[in-house]
Symmetry: D2
Subunit: 123 residues, 4 copies
């Protein structure tokens, strides 16, 4: 009898989609510039993000972007290219990426959930 | 005189490409499964990576993938979907992403550079 | 003539201090719990952080803590132990750590710098 | 009857220990140096790590250190100071930190577990 393990067949992987929604927090650092401050580059990236239709929230240690996997990753890739275009030879980014299939939860909802738990414990 | 600031015009951002090469080290963690071990999920992801044409190196705290930005990000997105397909409701990944425009340097070359410096100091 | 390379002598490393100030953004994830939500654990960690004297800012993808290296790392280690005490067998944290010797810059100042650059370009 | 919630009392937090063992993978990046290469700084950090008694494994996208929370965090803090001592004004590190209370697993064991799963599926 012939046994075919679909999951382990390499050709099947091409049909796996990327996630429809994701949650990415990233922190981009230009490397190899004499300038210690990265504010100029961060500002350029913020303008790029604002021009996209994605929900973005800047905080002091990074920026959170919400959208489809492909869209979010594309705009962060463009952020790297944008910083390279200003003459920076090396760009290093740290990312936290989250996906979930049970429900969609916005950045604001995540924070509210924690605050509600803390408030309830105060009672 | 008309002044046109090309860089700040939102419509121009669409023409910025994603990087032709990048270097991504990622660590994927399934969340919300009763199982403490993540080895099963990591093994599934390794098979997905092996099926791609990208250069991948697994180490004890993650896997490094080299290739074009779009290809690398696509396969990591597929890794999220693959783990979700096994019933995991939430997947969290930590990534370090590097791009450089001055030269291409493989994983092996990076390590050799450091080892050469250390060996030279021994002399 | 005797040559002593102080920097490469192993015994000297013990005298190197840890940084007096640092900036750490961390995201803690409990692993191996059947619960998809991590809000309960995050809330417990927030209470621990509030009990410390460190400046902490929670955002939707993590929490930023400012203080001396030793104090900040201690409280994040305690956060791991606290979550373990609730029965979680495995805890995974992603951290971004920054130190600088030229000046001290608070979380609020970092964001203002970027906003000022963006505002100036609007003029 | 009087009810005292020990866990929510701020004064109790001081007694929480940091984890006895942890697993940290870190990638240190010097910022604000004109030099694109970070190999020189990475080599200095490797010597510092080798001088410690901790188990360290360098790979192309970082270094994994195993030991007690306090020891591991101390040596990474010293790595920041060491790089600052060479004149670098800003140092940024990305870390993945894991702790578990069910068992201790070395770097080598983690990789073997995944390889065993992959080998078993080949049969």
């Amino acid at each position: 009898m012939q046994h075919t393990d679909i999951m382990t067949s390499p050709t099947d992987y091409s049909t796996i989609p990327t996630p429809a929604t994701c949650y990415v927090d990233f922190c981009l650092v230009p490397v190899g510039t004499a300038n210690v401050s990265v504010a100029q580059e961060v500002a350029q990236v913020q303008k790029l993000l604002n021009a996209s239709r994605l929900t973005c929230t800047m905080h002091s240690a990074g920026t959170t972007v919400e959208g489809s996997w492909d869209e979010v990753m594309k705009v962060i890739g463009q952020a790297h290219s944008l910083v390279h275009q200003t003459g920076v030879l090396r760009v290093q980014t740290s990312m936290r990426v989250g996906t979930r299939t049970d429900k969609t939860q916005t950045a604001a909802q995540k924070i509210k959930r924690v605050e509600d738990i803390l408030a309830a414990e105060q009672d």
